[in-house]
Symmetry: C2
């Protein structure tokens, strides 16, 4: 009986993987994923078979995994961060729905960039927040703008995924312009780069400064609520414990 | 030199902890946290010193940890799920800001209920989403309602934390009523219970059904966007890969 595990591996270093995720990789005969993550894992599992496709190969990758698992093999399909948050879990379940003979499908959650990037910066998502991808490959840019406006209107903290790609250099600046329609230019923001990898770094800055900042595809962006603040060089969105005690 | 690690331990079973989180607990001399989670960990670390406070003891707990670490001890302050998302990381950083002599502070991220609950249900957070706590202990209920309305207006998928407590039995029903002002009663929703623990379960249901459902403090609730759907008995919010291919 075959099995397909869709595995969130966290930011990329083995230490940030959960025990369940490690075990799913150890038990798999075939490990599949996006080229960049497969290259990260290959040295740790020299005896495994690997299958990788590039940035736009998601459908082919998921179908390949479902087919191999239906043949009776144990397959792990890896996703950076979490298996479900902008990961492959949804597409696998949608494709599986069309098949008559199905392998067992297991979703193994992982630490998404909203959590791992936040830990670097401090606690930018300590209260209610929205997660929005700025990639307009699968989503109309008008819908992205609409969601940015609603997030600002609700005074949520924000975590922005995919703030740039080779083809889209200006979408972070455009997103900041939308947020600046209603948010204070001094709103505390943060960026986290290369989380869990070589060159890991973070920076706390204002929304006005963020608008002028270049991001790349290894950057995760955080935008504060009106209550977010800089705290010992880091970014914190308080939940309100201190205010409760101090009667503020 | 003392050190305080604020550690997200995931849903509660050791297998869902990251390698970094396990190591932080192993290296600590003192492990502190909310009573329920300390009782979960105690059997696995019989040689450690433990310190726990109840549900409203967050400030005392964080201060105690900072003081012991400032004395030179290695302390791990555990949070269920992630260290930052409704966790103690922010409060620790805020309290530390007021101190003159500080230990090293490290934030270790973990798998939050938005990811672990989603993995049980399928992939309810496969596209842009909001995370909102329904607890009005630290947040005015009017602000919670406002955020629910903004999330509905932006057609986000939603993950709701703290849908009930002993004192507040009706806040999930009230939140659903707010969402039903603009969302379709047939919107696909899901609940995940006792994630990673004995009695783990999930259920996919409509927003109208969710409104009539009792939740407890071990329940995490998911509300779909207009595109979320039931898929092989599970809940999926598609990102759009299939629509891209099929030209929809």
């Amino acid at each position: 009986m075959g099995k397909l595990s869709v595995v969130g591996i966290g930011p990329g270093d083995l230490q940030s993987m959960t025990g369940r995720a490690s075990r799913a990789l150890e038990e798999a005969e075939l490990i599949a994923g996006y080229t960049v993550y497969i290259d990260l894992l290959r040295p740790y599992f020299p005896e495994k078979e690997f299958y990788s496709t590039g940035m736009t190969g998601e459908l082919a990758r998921c179908r390949y995994c479902l087919e191999r698992a239906a043949e009776g093999r144990k397959v792990a399909l890896v996703c950076s961060g979490d298996a479900g948050i902008y990961g492959m879990a949804g597409l696998v379940l949608e494709l599986a729905e069309q098949e008559s003979s199905l392998p067992e499908i297991e979703i193994v959650p992982g630490v998404t960039a909203a959590s791992s990037g936040a830990a670097l910066l401090g606690a930018p998502l300590g209260h209610d927040f929205c997660v929005i991808s700025l990639s307009d490959r699968l989503t109309d840019w008008n819908q992205i703008e609409k969601r940015l406006r609603c997030a600002a209107e609700g005074d949520f903290a924000l975590c922005l995924y995919n703030p740039a790609s080779r083809a889209r250099r200006d979408c972070l600046a455009r997103a900041c312009a939308v947020l600046l329609e209603s948010k204070d230019p001094q709103t505390v923001c943060g960026i986290a780069r290369n989380i869990g990898r070589q060159g890991e770094s973070f920076r706390v800055l204002s929304l006005a400064e963020l608008q002028k900042t270049e991001a790349d595809m290894f950057t995760t962006v955080f935008v504060g609520s009106s209550r977010s603040r800089k705290c010992g060089g880091r970014m914190v969105t308080p939940r309100g414990y201190r205010m409760l005690e101090e009667g503020l």
